[in-house]
């Protein structure tokens, strides 16, 4: 790399930077620094790009080059400028003030390289994203705006995109960017049109009104030869379209749908769903449109997207229900996808009986029994049974139909038919009300099949003790599966009890992070599965069952999220998990030792409570030995005092142990093996037990029905004033106080609303289901008013839950 030939020098730098390690870097650092300021552009670019690579290996060395790199930013050569800017930013990225200074300074002196300007725009918009209220925000915006008039398309597009993506951008600030984008729409370059369309479609999602003026240009693009552009144009138009233009758009789309690939069709279907939710009056046209697609050729994903969309519209817009059901029935007449057929059949069974002419659906369903494969037949039988159960007038004829399935060649179909018939038969003589109290035919069968002989399930053959047929399971299948597994693992704790739904361990719903709104459809699926894999948590109470002293306490009802009792960088790090059991609370202290010269023996945590009447320290399990770097558990068992259901309490905690000196090099004890060590105490932060700790976040199925069934006998009404200015904050705080699961999507507040109704449910320790309705009103002057109604089947539990609000 000391050759006089520029090319040799440049190439040797590039190669060296790939193979060198941190220790060798010092030897050539001098040459690299020289190379950065070399007058040849290739040499200096190579050195700068190598710098970006080397930054990962040893940032402190690269940081020393900052003067040379800064010189590079003002270089003659475009690429050198670009590379120097990116390296300089990387060096300074951790220091916000320096970055902001650098960017502001550079934005004043125009740079020659379009790439470098693009980069500068990105840095600028990053600063604005992090802190929109920065003092120099206005100047930053002006720089972006002036970049809209740059001579290079690349820069203009980058600037327009940056402006459109600014958080909370004003209409006025947006319009110059939209003007530029509108101009780009008529460009001949497909890449430019594509990029522009993509940006516009993102803007349309947030500010549909701002791009109305582009509509005519976008309509031209529907016939663009590039299908990606055409699809983007359509979906954007669907977002911005007014109610009047819907019909015209639909005509245009139907001519175009045949030409595009399935994944684009899915995008269009999703856009139509949005449109339909926006203009419910147009549902006839739009649902009809979706139904036409359902009849046309298409893969599983596409058909599934349409069915999901129709089903969603059915719940959102009740008027579409009957029409949509018919479309779906039409579809399963000729449907090659078993999964969709079964889904639709169970839906028809659910909704069909409550329509105006339920008898019409029987033919559709029975056709499936005659024509389809075993899985679909098995789904059709319970659907028929549901009609029979709900509609006494049809019962005799349906029984005849189901009887034919008794001789089916598939055992599942036969089983389901038998179950259905037994139930229907026994209830034949009873009155109308009795018909509702039928055994859960379909679900019962699935349950016994899925869980094997271990689950006896609800007693099937005895209609007198039957579960309600038309009720859904009280929990989802996945939580049922988890619960049964948990039950299995800790058999000894519950040995001898019959397995019924209510004795299953409570499985808390893990909030799956919905993730960032994925950019492509493919990404969506992937991130979904990835997060599902991450979430699969191990049971936090796992190790509690392994401690012999704790075994007799029974099963853990729920485990609270860990609480840190020390700062994370102290000598001993302690965190506590509260395991709630029936009548007991086990405090599970996770202790780690970070001192190399010490080994801890006989580690206990001593807790002292503020109010000794509430809890009684029953036992304490010590951790026998803790070496450096290890983590261990110590336990304290608290017994709830008589008459204390779940009162909040505060505990002061102290770590007690014997410290022994250890030789850090060998890890062996310095003294004798049986040396006593010196007693030590280490104060920890205070630990609180709140009533919310006793509440499991579980959703209990249909909230409204649950609410009505529960009745007002044990209802508690309260009114509170809270000190929140924003509705969303107040909602989050109420959720937090109560520790309950939100239902019906009431956890999120529409922007700009003044009031909000929140539905919460959960299970209190001792398997007491609790439902809460909260009405929140926010007044800018008075703060937040909360009206809360708590229902459960025990008045004192309701009272306690209501008292959780602070």
């Amino acid at each position: 790399m000391n050759s006089s030939e520029d090319l040799y020098r440049a190439n040797s730098i590039r190669v060296l930077s790939r193979i060198i390690d941190a220790t060798m870097l010092g030897a050539i650092e001098r040459y690299l620094k020289q190379a950065i300021v070399d007058k040849n552009s290739l040499v200096s670019s190579s050195a700068l790009v190598s710098g970006i690579l080397l930054y990962k290996i040893s940032p402190e060395v690269v940081r020393r080059w900052v003067n040379e790199v800064t010189e590079g930013v003002s270089s003659q050569h475009e690429m050198v400028q670009y590379h120097a800017l990116s390296l300089l930013y990387q060096i300074k990225a951790h220091d916000k003030l320096a970055v902001s200074k650098l960017v502001t300074q550079l934005s004043k002196s125009p740079m020659r390289s379009p790439l470098a300007v693009c980069l500068l725009i990105r840095y600028m918009s990053k600063i604005l994203h992090d802190d929109i209220s920065a003092t120099n925000a206005r100047a930053a915006y002006q720089f972006l705006e002036s970049s809209l008039r740059h001579r290079s398309d690349m820069v203009m597009y980058e600037a327009a995109r940056a402006i459109c993506n600014l958080p909370g951008v004003e209409m006025n600030d947006l319009s110059p960017a939209i003007n530029v984008l509108q101009m780009f729409l008529t460009s001949v370059k497909p890449a430019l049109k594509f990029g522009t369309m993509r940006t516009l479609s993102e803007v349309a999602a947030k500010y549909p009104m701002s791009i109305l003026k582009c509509n005519s240009d976008m309509e031209v693009l529907i016939s663009d030869p590039n299908r990606s552009i055409a699809t983007l144009a359509i979906t954007t138009l669907l977002k911005t379209g007014s109610e009047g233009s819907v019909d015209r758009l639909m005509k245009q789309i139907s001519s175009f749908m045949n030409e595009i690939a399935d994944e684009f069709k899915i995008v269009v279907v999703k856009a139509i769903r949005q449109l339909c939710l926006k203009y419910p009056l147009k549902h006839r046209v739009l649902v009809g449109f979706l139904a036409t697609f359902l009849r046309e050729e298409g893969g599983f994903e596409f058909k599934k997207a349409i069915t999901d969309c129709i089903v969603e519209l059915m719940t959102a817009i009740p008027e579409t229900k009957e029409m949509s059901l018919f479309h779906l029935c039409d579809f399963i007449e000729d449907c090659e996808f078993t999964a969709l057929s079964t889904q639709i059949l169970s839906l028809v069974g659910e909704l069909g009986p409550s329509t105006s002419a339920p008898a019409r659906y029987i033919r559709f369903i029975y056709n499936r029994v005659i024509l389809e494969n075993a899985a679909v037949r098995a789904a059709a039988v319970p659907a028929l049974a549901k009609f029979a159960a709900r509609l006494p007038s049809l019962r005799p004829s349906i029984r005849v139909l189901i009887k034919r399935s008794l001789l089916d060649e598939d055992d599942e179909v036969r089983d389901r038919a038998t179950v259905a018939l037994t139930l229907l038969g026994d209830n034949d003589g009873e009155d109308e009300a009795g018909a509702d109290a039928l055994v859960e035919g379909g679900h019962g069968a699935e349950e016994t099949k899925g869980d094997g002989p271990a689950t006896a399930g609800p007693p099937l053959g005895k209609p007198t003790t039957a579960h309600l047929l038309l009720e859904a399971l009280p929990m989802s299948f996945s939580s049922l599966e988890k619960a049964v597994k948990a039950y299995h693992q800790h058999m000894p704790a519950t040995a001898g009890q019959p397995l019924v739904l209510s004795s299953l361990p409570v499985v808390e719903e893990v909030a799956v992070p919905t993730g960032i709104v994925a950019k492509g459809a493919g990404k969506d699926g992937r991130s979904g599965s990835a997060s599902a894999a991450e979430v699969a948590p191990d049971d936090p109470a796992e190790h509690v069952y392994k401690v012999p002293e704790l075994e007799r306490l029974g099963r853990v009802f729920r485990s609270a999220t860990p609480v840190e009792l020390t700062e994370s960088e102290t000598e001993y790090v302690v965190r506590c998990v509260k395991h709630i059991m029936d009548g007991y609370v086990v405090l599970d202290f996770t202790i780690s030792n970070t001192i190399e010269e010490q080994m801890l023996r006989n580690v206990t945590v001593e807790v002292e409570q503020s109010d000794p009447d509430l809890y009684e320290v029953e036992a304490s399990v010590a951790l026998p030995e803790l070496k450096c770097g290890d983590t261990g558990h110590a336990y304290v068992v608290l017994k709830l005092a008589e008459g204390n259901a779940a009162e909040p309490a505060a505990f002061s905690c102290e770590l007690k142990f014997q410290a022994l000196d250890v030789d850090p090099a060998t890890g062996l004890l310095e003294g004798d093996e049986d040396e006593e060590g010196f007693e030590e105490e280490y104060p920890l932060e205070q630990l609180n037990i709140a009533t919310a700790d006793f509440m499991a976040k579980v959703s209990l199925g249909d909230f409204r029905r649950g609410w009505e069934q529960m009745g007002a006998e044990a209802e508690v009404l309260e009114k509170f004033a809270l000190g929140f200015k924003r509705l969303q904050e107040a909602v989050a705080a109420v959720e937090d106080f109560l520790g309950m699961q939100t239902c019906d999507g009431t956890g999120s507040v529409a922007a700009g609303k003044k009031e909000h109704a929140l539905h919460l449910c959960g299970i209190f320790v001792g398997n007491v289901p609790v439902l809460v309705r909260a009405q929140l009103n926010v007044d800018p002057q008075a703060g937040c008013i909360l009206k809360i109604a708590v229902r459960s089947n025990q008045p004192d539990v309701s009272r306690m839950v209501a008292d959780c609000i602070q």
Binding site: N40, S41, L42, S45, I52, L53, Y157, K189, P190, A191
Partner: protein
Amino acid sequence: MALELLPQVKAVLILDEDGGRVSCKYHDRKEFPNLGAEAMFEHKLFRKTKSVHAPTEADVVLLDDVVAVFRSGLDVHLYVVGSTDENELILTAVLDALHETLLILLRGQIDRRTLLDNLALVLLSIDELVDAGKILEIDPSAIANRVLMRGADARGPQSSDVNFPQAIASVREEFIKRMGN
């Protein structure tokens, strides 16, 4: 973190008219961890673009979570692949640079046969264009000169500038220098 803002090229590909590889260079090991993932991506990419002929202007396609811009030669397609939120025009600039460079190096012939015959030049051009996903140079004549080892800059080929007496002079100089040793 700081690197996320830097324009990144995930891959530069050249595929023939049956979707077979002529030359492939992947820079993003997260997205394309192994040969299988690469082959699957190429297959998908090719299926979506084979019917489009884009000889003069770069066309663009959105594929899962990447954006690919591409241009067609006689019987080959050139692709530059970036992430979905990349500026398409930057990718296009890279693609155009590759296309121009190959035109210079292969004297206007971009077809499968010529590319394979001059594979060394093709591979070197791609290496000079993008280094570890970072754009190194987008000036076609500069890249061409570097590939041919004629000099680091965009100046025209030096050999043609040198006339006969100058050449004699430089040879003599060199000769004397060596005699001196």
